[in-house]
């Protein structure tokens, strides 16, 4: 009798030991295709932890480069969350995703204009290529 109970108990222990571990209770288990880590946003910056790992940002710090904008806002705004000097313009002008993909060929008609970065009225450095999805009318003027 006791041998049967011991055998049954050992069977249960062995069976439980062989079940897959699913620490987050998402029924997917903890290995292979488990997406639990990708669904976690530890620092609440709008980016999932695995996104942060691929971007090189800190999953535990909402503003990795310390420029005042969260990593999620920087990604949404097409700025670099690892560069404290790269952030949204205070003037509110949108930065296009294509800005770093524009290849300049020259400044004549039909060519692709060279980029520039100049101080604006809010103290930001504004790049021409930030507006690569728009038509841009450049007006040269002076105070005198």
């Amino acid at each position: 009798m006791w041998d049967m109970r011991l055998g049954l108990w050992l069977s249960v222990v062995i069976l439980v030991g062989c079940l897959p571990v699913d620490s987050d209770k998402d029924t997917a288990g903890d290995s292979g295709s488990d997406t639990a880590s990708s669904q976690v946003d530890t620092d609440g910056d709008g980016l999932m932890d695995d996104q942060e790992e691929s971007l090189g940002t800190d999953p535990g710090v909402a503003d990795t480069d310390g420029d005042g904008e969260s990593d999620g806002d920087e990604v949404d705004g097409n700025t670099n969350p690892l560069d404290e000097n790269d952030h949204a313009y205070e003037g509110g002008w949108s930065i296009a995703a294509c800005r770093d993909a524009v290849v300049s060929t020259g400044n004549g008609v039909g060519e692709t204009a060279e980029d520039f970065s100049l101080l604006d009225q809010f103290g930001d450095q504004v790049r021409l290529h930030s507006f690569c999805e728009s038509a841009v009318w450049l007006v040269g003027a002076a105070f005198w």
Partner: protein
């Protein structure tokens, strides 16, 4: 997008941020007003000198449509994406 490139202030030097802000307020500029000490506006003229005001129109993707020339409303409308 309209970008104003201010090449010089009254002292013939590139304007600082405060001067840019004053200019933007005075002329109710809601777009970028930039201090252009380079000046980059000169890049778009083949004359080698800059006449002010200068006008250059750039299309989406960065293509120069009009380099230091007359920009009309029709030109702008045609350039819009």
């Amino acid at each position: 997008m309209v970008i104003t490139l201010l090449t010089e202030n009254y002292e013939m030097v590139p304007p600082n941020q405060e001067e840019l802000a004053l200019w933007a307020d005075e002329y109710q500029q809601t777009f970028p007003v930039l201090s252009d000490g380079d000046p980059v506006a000169l890049r778009f003229t083949a004359r080698g000198s800059l006449s002010l005001p200068s006008h250059t129109l750039i299309g989406p993707g960065g293509e120069v449509l009009i380099a230091d020339g007359d920009v009309t409303e029709e030109d702008i409308l045609a350039a819009l994406p």
